[in-house]
Subunit: 252 residues, 2 copies
């Protein structure tokens, strides 16, 4: 049997504000969840500062290692927005004004007496790039080869992802099933390892918590084979019950 191809993506988060601790990133989670639905696995994330060489190096490392590379951040109108320049440098192509992006900005700014030079910065793309529509604000995202350049503001990134829905080649969506139990992780460690070993193509993650003075954990069973995930979850539920724990479907 030929194994189906596993489609993978990386995410490059660009921004001093994340690395300084000023801003809590919200894009890793939403890109991950969106990729799961497309049947693409988020396999690596990097966060780098607003530095052209650092961005370009990371872009070249990640776009060759994975099927897709998403970036978030650095596509606004100010001096610290250098993502387009950095990705053009990574590909060795010039930066050009995209005529359609210019039209969108001009249309949006018609009532304000026309588009400013600073706003026009947002129409700059690496030569050969296509636009990713952004229904919320005028400035679009950008696609160049397997690199998808999204906004850093999470609501804008979400709209760009929505526009990309179903347009990328992927595999089967990842299925995850959660079971919770008021069990100390260390007490069920053997049971978890044995259950995972008994089910091919399935991974079990264990995530402990403390709640109302009790220790417990949620066990997340993940697979691209939905039936295998369900079978493994049922098996884990039985094994937990046999060991004297109440297994809570959906988690605690």
């Amino acid at each position: 049997m030929v194994e189906p191809k596993v489609w993978t993506a990386a995410l490059l988060v660009i921004g001093d504000e994340i690395l300084s601790g000023r801003t809590q990133d919200k894009n890793v989670g939403q890109v991950a969840a969106w990729l799961n639905r497309q049947g693409i696995r988020l396999a690596e994330v990097r966060i780098v500062p607003d530095d052209q060489a650092r961005i370009a190096d990371a872009v070249n490392a990640l776009r060759s290692a994975y099927d897709y590379l998403f970036t978030t951040g650095g596509i606004g109108p100010t001096h610290d927005d250098i993502t387009v320049d950095s990705i053009a440098a990574a590909f060795g192509v010039p930066v050009v004004i995209h005529p359609e992006a210019r039209r969108i900005l001009e249309r949006d700014d018609e009532t304000r007496g026309g588009v400013t030079d600073a706003r026009l910065r947002m129409a700059r793309v690496p030569e050969g790039a296509e636009l990713i529509p952004n229904p919320l604000s005028g400035a679009p995202g950008v696609r160049l080869g397997n690199v998808l350049i999204l906004a850093g503001v999470p609501t804008l990134a979400a709209h760009m992802l929505e526009a990309l829905d179903g347009t990328l080649e992927g595999g089967r969506p990842m299925v995850s099933v959660t079971i919770g139990a008021l069990a100390a992780e260390s007490e069920v460690a053997d049971l978890l390892r044995e259950t995972e070993a008994a089910h091919e193509g399935v991974a079990i993650g264990s995530y402990p918590f403390g709640k109302d003075g009790h220790y417990g954990a949620n066990f997340v069973i993940r697979s691209e084979d939905g039936a295998a995930a369900e079978q493994c979850a049922a098996d884990l539920g039985r094994r937990l019950a046999d060991a004297g724990y109440d297994a809570v479907p959906g988690g605690i």
Copy 2:
């Protein structure tokens, strides 16, 4: 004048749960803020899955590129906790039971009839490693050379950071000063660029927001030279006022 050394660190977040979108990372922000106070700059973050080869490769790339490497995640008692094994592999050393870590676990588990094999997993360290105290739960963090191995649970990681307070060599703490204005970013883009260029050793970040139907932005002035940051902030405030904007100290 000799430039003072800039101390840098990377953070490696280990965990399928972050890459699957199940769990929102909270460690990037708290490690970043803690490093700022130590005078160490967070220069890169990577997030990788629970895979020994991927972890070891990232550890070796990052520990040689930066002064310090912090890791979070994967040091619990279950089968998916493989951080210690992966870092030992990266350094080419065996995994051993640390006698002091074993004593801590045995002491904690005395009333429960002794430490179990699964719990004892948490006393495993790469040979030559020291412990990082964890006053909250028994299982300690681990230090090997310039690599600092912290828990993934944010409250546990916070206690390990507290234990490390003031123990790492660093430079001057990073100072940041924020000014807000109800200005569209694109309208002040030139002004920001000119202000930054006029102040050496200072970086200005621009973070837009929409609020009550108005567009605005917060401008964050960062420098290791506190006086330079304050001077730049005062200058930016004057320039914004001259351009007709109310500059709000502390941000909006």
